[in-house]
Amino acid sequence: MLIFLHDGSSEGVFTCVYNAFESKDKPGQILNADMTSQNLLDSYVYFAPDHKKADQLYKAAGCRISSAAQDLIYTVSLSCEPDAGGSIFNYLDICFKKGTGYVFAYGEEAILKAWQIRNNVMTEYHRYLGFLRFKKIGQEVYYAPYEPRNNLNLLLAEHFSDRMKNEKWIIHDKTRNKAVIYDLEKYFEVPFIGRDKDSILLEDDRFEKLWKEFLESVTISERTNYRLQLNNMPKRYRKYMTESI
């Protein structure tokens, strides 16, 4: 089987999908190079992100299909699903051929699959909107480490650059070791270079204590229901949450 490889960025994924449309030999899968251990039977081609091609694909989805399709492929490109790129290709392939009416054609396996991947990303994103925790480091920077499954840095940055416009902050994806930094004007993503993963020693903040006290006090003990709590706030989100540490 022919497999296309990318670097995990949206631009990389889109470049592969673009090349899949251009190439005579269609890839069986489109995977992240870092997550793939290559075997002897399959053949692999790596494509470096190409801004022009990625942009062209994204725009084509918008004008030839719809803005819903455009949003969908961007969100799917952030997914941790191994063959998310393949899903984007299959989705666009159907919509390009059959038209705008197929954007929500859930009766079609490939269309449904793409929407399900998109929904998974959005669920995790929405949860982190609430569960992300900032700590004040130094005098003026707020720092939020987290370990998402999907590539959420840029989505979250969009939200917080509006909400916390007048504060400096860093959101650190520890899964990919990449950080978005906001400097009061714009945000940008960079590889996180630290001496050691946990070398940032965080001072004990008095508001952490107040927050924990608040949560204790606002709980109705007669209604204790840990299972409901677990359903609503799964364990994997709690690692960096002030109240769970």
């Binding site: 859930y106 925790r133 909400r163 949560l215 006090s217 209604r223 299972r227």
Partner: protein
């Protein structure tokens, strides 16, 4: 008193107010020097050990109350520790919590400090401090204290996202018995004022008077009021005052009183069923009189209200998934708002079968009794009232142990 101790007392005193949601307002942060925005669907920031969502910093300004309502833990004659925040302290906590992404904003209520007007003025002072001095643009929900002057309600409404007045008890009789100082008029007058403020603003292009609308809360199980009484009042409030939400709170005995029932366990299942029914009223086009009638004044505890209605109205079914309109689809147990919308989108290009529905996450274990796909019911099922009822009861009751469904109103962001 230390801030930590105050917070413990005044959060504890606020915990029975269940309306901790941050929904209904959408606002981006347009100025350069302000903090915060609002997201239409609201955001849950944490979940406490009772499984309830925490979205707002929910506190009382003071628990030192001039009133003596029987059911209330803050009643004047109750021997508890009293505390009060200064407006500055409450505003400061809100700002610092918000910057750490602990909360969506502030939910501020208070015991009656001297008089209703005085209390309202202190609440307004806190909110003004946040909005005007500190540049806080996040979500604010405040209580309108019953008996407050009209001018103060108007002033407050222009500063906050949501304002609410608690009905507390669903009938005049119950209110007179348990909260003699709170006259029904005192509750409905501010509600009406808020409603009028909203209607007035509705004509303007950009609405600023309580953009997220108003809500209220009722206590369940402290009085003999039936579910029909409760939901009937909710229906009226949604209709005549255009309320956004009515919250239901299973009564938990916090004080001893000869006027109050002895409750061993809070009626959590009843509360859950009321929320389900409430959802049917607001989003599914049901009327109270369809769900309950003169013979059954209370909701079925063993089946959810939609299943219960469907079994009693089998003549409405089966619904053909490929042709039914949106409202008909919504009446099918197992098909919610999302599934109904997805079905309508999907059938533009495909005729749907049972397998498609299952993959689209329709809850088939309930829906299968009430639908046809391309004219056929699923094989092996009988379309008879007793059979459907027994089957549903069996599958629901095995679920009781597995699912902790109670109190899911806490999700109500």
């Amino acid at each position: 008193m230390e801030l930590l101790e105050k917070l413990a007392i005044l959060a504890d005193a606020a915990k029975y107010d269940v309306a901790c949601t941050s929904s209904g307002a959408k606002r981006s942060n347009t100025a350069d020097d302000t903090l915060g925005n609002a997201v239409r669907g609201g955001i849950c920031h944490s979940f406490t050990a009772d499984g309830r969502c925490v979205s707002l910093l929910k506190i009382l300004l003071s628990n030192n109350c001039a009133y003596n309502c029987e059911y209330c833990v803050n009643r004047k004659s109750n021997d508890i520790k009293r505390a009060a925040f200064t407006p500055r302290e409450a505003a400061y906590l809100t700002m610092e919590f918000y910057k750490r992404n602990y909360i969506e904003g502030l939910f501020l209520s208070s015991a009656v400090i001297g008089s209703p007007d005085n209390t309202m003025e202190l609440i307004i002072k806190t909110v003004k401090l946040l909005r005007e001095d500190l540049g806080f643009n996040g979500y604010i929900h405040i209580k309108a204290i019953p008996g407050t002057d009209r001018k103060l309600i108007e002033k407050a409404g222009n500063l906050v996202d949501r304002m609410s007045v608690n009905v507390e008890l669903p009938s005049r009789k119950s209110l007179l018995l348990l909260a003699p100082e709170k006259k029904p008029e005192d509750v409905f007058r501010p509600m009406k004022l808020i409603y009028e403020g909203i209607s007035e603003e509705g004509k303007a292009v950009k609405r600023r008077f309580v953009p997220a609308g108003q809500s209220t809360q009722m206590i369940i199980g402290a009085t003999p009021d039936t579910d029909h009484d409760i939901l009937g009042l909710s229906e009226k409030l949604y209709g005549s005052y255009k309320l956004k939400r009515v919250f239901y709170s299973a009564y938990i005995p916090v004080v001893q009183s000869s006027k109050l029932p002895v409750v061993i366990r809070p009626e959590l299942r009843r509360e859950h069923r009321l929320y389900q029914a409430d959802w049917l009223l607001r989003f599914y086009g049901f009327k109270v009189n369809e769900l309950l009638d003169a013979r059954s004044r209370d909701l079925n505890m063993d089946l959810d209200p939609k299943c219960d209605w469907a079994i009693r109205n089998l003549s409405f079914f089966p619904v053909e998934v490929n042709t039914a309109d949106y409202l008909e689809l919504l009446r099918v147990p197992g098909i919610g708002i999302n599934s109904a919308r997805k079905i309508i989108q999907a059938r533009r290009t495909h005729r749907l079968d049972f397998d498609n529905l299952k993959k689209m996450r329709v809850v088939m274990k309930r829906a299968k009794y009430f639908i046809t796909c391309n004219g056929r019911m699923q094989k092996g099922l009988r379309f008879e009232q007793e059979y459907v009822k027994t089957s549903l009861l069996l599958s629901e009751n095995s679920l009781y142990e597995q699912l902790s469904i109670f109190g899911d109103h806490g999700n109500g962001v």
